[in-house]
């Protein structure tokens, strides 16, 4: 299992698409969390998203909320793509047979992939925190504002919550890739759910229909948004709103993570590799 996990990590690390996804996640996060609000506060980005947040929201004391704020939607979408690529690529290239002919069981390979994707998810979250810390420190220095950093406990809780959200979305990508045996359709359907359906449900259906509003409390996106909100993410951030408590959100997200990984493993184990 250790050798298989090392092999999976090598494949992810050496794959240019992994680095591109990380770069996109960091650039988007920095742009909409720090640069646009900072430019808005200086009158250079009027009307842009988050332009009215103000400089205070970009300072180090808000590092936790700012770093995980993208995970309910856009950074979540990037993690979903990462999960699809890690597993769906084997279908696209026809490499399942090459791997399995070397002797490891399907579940060994799957377990190795899950471990590698989980580590990659943590790496993305840590990169968001690290680049956010550097950027917020630079803004504090530029503005002459105090650099009050979050406590270690808050930081650990934020990283843990971010990892849970990231891994859950990556898990959705994994199960879609296994179920649909490919890359393009799982990414397309996953993004439609994450970027469109979730928004339609929360913005249009939930205010009109009670059962949809109730359903929101059990869907992954709103729970990720609630968890981010409970850790300080601004409610102006897309997908972030307090619908449920943090304990409920953690339980639901963990449940989805287990469900996605479990269903993916079951499907992979039972079906023929064509």
């Amino acid at each position: 299992m250790l050798g298989s996990t090392r092999a999976e990590i090598t494949k992810l690390v050496r794959r240019p698409a992994s680095w591109l996804l990380l770069a996109v996640a960091v650039v988007l996060s920095l742009t909409f969390t720090y640069l646009v609000p900072y430019a808005g506060a200086n009158g250079a980005a009027d009307g842009a998203p988050n332009a009215t947040r103000g400089v205070a929201e970009t300072l180090p004391e808000h590092l936790v909320g700012n770093s995980i704020g993208g995970l309910p939607v856009f950074a979540g979408a990037i993690l979903l793509i990462l999960g699809v690529l890690a597993v769906g690529g084997e279908y696209g290239w026809g490499t399942w047979k090459t791997l399995l002919a070397q002797g490891p069981s399907r579940l060994t390979v799957y377990g190795a992939k899950i471990a590698a994707v989980a580590l990659a998810s943590l790496a993305v979250v840590l990169a968001l925190f690290a680049t956010g810390a550097v950027t917020s420190a630079a803004i504090a220095a530029a503005e002459g504002a105090p650099a009050d950093w979050p406590s270690f406990v808050d930081l650990a809780a934020g990283i843990g919550a971010g990892w849970l959200m990231a891994a859950m979305w990556a898990g959705l990508g994994v199960v879609l890739a296994v179920a649909l045996r490919g890359v393009a359709l799982p990414i397309g359907l996953g993004l439609v759910w994450l970027m469109a359906v979730q928004n339609l449900l929360s913005a249009i259906a939930a205010p009109l229909l009670d059962w949809v509003a109730k359903l929101q409390e059990w869907l992954p996106g709103p729970n990720a948004g609630s968890l981010a909100a409970s850790l300080g993410t601004s409610p102006d951030t897309p997908g972030v709103a307090t619908l449920v408590g943090d304990g409920h959100a953690v339980a639901v997200l963990a449940g989805y993570l287990i469900l996605f990984v479990g269903v993916g493993g079951l499907l992979l184990r039972r079906r023929d590799i064509l």
């Binding site: 050798g3 298989s4 090392r6 092999a7 090598t10 494949k11 050496r14 794959r15 240019p16 690529g89 290239w93 026809g94 490499t95 399942w96 047979k97 090459t98 791997l99 399995l100 002919a101 070397q102 002797g103 490891p104 069981s105 390979v109 023929d272 590799i273 064509l274």
Partner: protein, 293 residues
């Protein structure tokens, strides 16, 4: 304990029976040719041997064990090579070596075996089809397996590459490895295989040594008048051992009787203009068995 033993192996996809009660046995140390037209069920059978496709019924045993427990002694190249295009050939093999749990030093050994060391640092995506095929064989050899399953290993190779591959397979066979070779190149199979199995319509319709399958040599006689010659020879050797094909007699008798047949025909006033031994090629047998052509 046979390297490969299937019993009544069957795979159905809905109403379609892709593999129909195939029972084949590959013996230790032999090079076994697995033949059949496109869509006959060869690759599905090979996939079942590796556990990639689950049988609808029947059993597969490799070295006497169920598939899941015995792939450690098996190397395979199934339905063309497939690797990660962004990694080099060498790094692809390194990744696979980690899955296989074999020492990294094997990577260099197998690259040498397939003559790919010079290009091993290049990205797989830049390889020609022949180089991809050789990397596929290298991957199959990584674990130094006792049983090698090769599905069309010479696809995409130029004539020199095909000759190299034949030599490699022969060498592996001579080194005591068992090779299960699926190929459309019947001349190649005839040259390097000890036994063959022929599948058609999902069923194993023949399994025998190459020599047995090709049968004995036939005597070919061109004579005039041909009908008189046919009647005379039928009277001598029996009705069912004589056929008239393309204006010549095909006699299913030992080649050593050629002089006797010649003397008999000449003695009967029949002109004999050609007398020779004709050996059946494996391709002829294959086409007869599978009703193609």
């Amino acid at each position: 304990m046979f390297p490969v033993e299937t019993r009544e192996l069957t795979k159905r996809y809905g109403q379609l029976v892709a593999v129909d009660r195939v029972s084949l046995t590959v013996r230790p140390g032999e090079v076994y040719g697995f033949l059949g037209p496109n869509g006959a069920g060869k690759t599905t059978t090979l996939r079942m041997l590796l556990g990639l496709v689950r049988p609808s019924s029947g059993t597969v045993r490799l070295f006497g064990e169920d598939v899941g427990q015995s792939l450690g002694d098996v190397g395979a190249l199934i339905e063309g090579p497939a690797f990660y295009p962004y990694l080099s050939g060498r790094d692809n093999l390194r990744v696979l070596a980690r899955y296989a749990g074999c020492p990294a030093g094997r990577v260099g050994v197998v690259l040498d075996l397939v003559d790919l060391t010079d290009r091993a640092g290049d990205r797989y995506g830049t390889y020609s089809l022949g180089m991809k095929q050789r990397l596929g064989v290298a991957a199959a050899l990584l674990k130094d397996p006792k049983l090698l399953i090769l599905d069309e290993p010479t696809n995409g190779l130029d004539p020199a590459g095909m000759a190299d591959m034949r030599r490699l397979i022969r060498r592996l066979g001579a080194a005591g490895k068992t090779v299960l070779l699926s190929s459309h190149m019947l001349g190649e199979v005839q040259q390097i295989c000890d036994r063959v199995g022929v599948v058609s319509g999902g069923r194993l319709i023949a399994e025998s040594t190459v020599a047995e399958l090709r049968g004995g040599a036939r005597l070919r006689v061109v004579a005039d008048p041909i009908q008189d010659a046919a009647a005379r020879v039928r009277a001598l050797v029996g009705q069912d051992r004589v056929r008239v094909e393309d204006g010549a007699l095909e006699l299913d008798i030992e080649a050593g009787k050629a002089a006797w047949i010649n003397a008999e025909l000449v003695g009967a006033g029949i002109d004999v203009s050609e007398l020779g031994v004709r050996e059946r090629e494996l391709e002829d047998v294959f086409l007869e068995l599978t009703h193609v052509g």
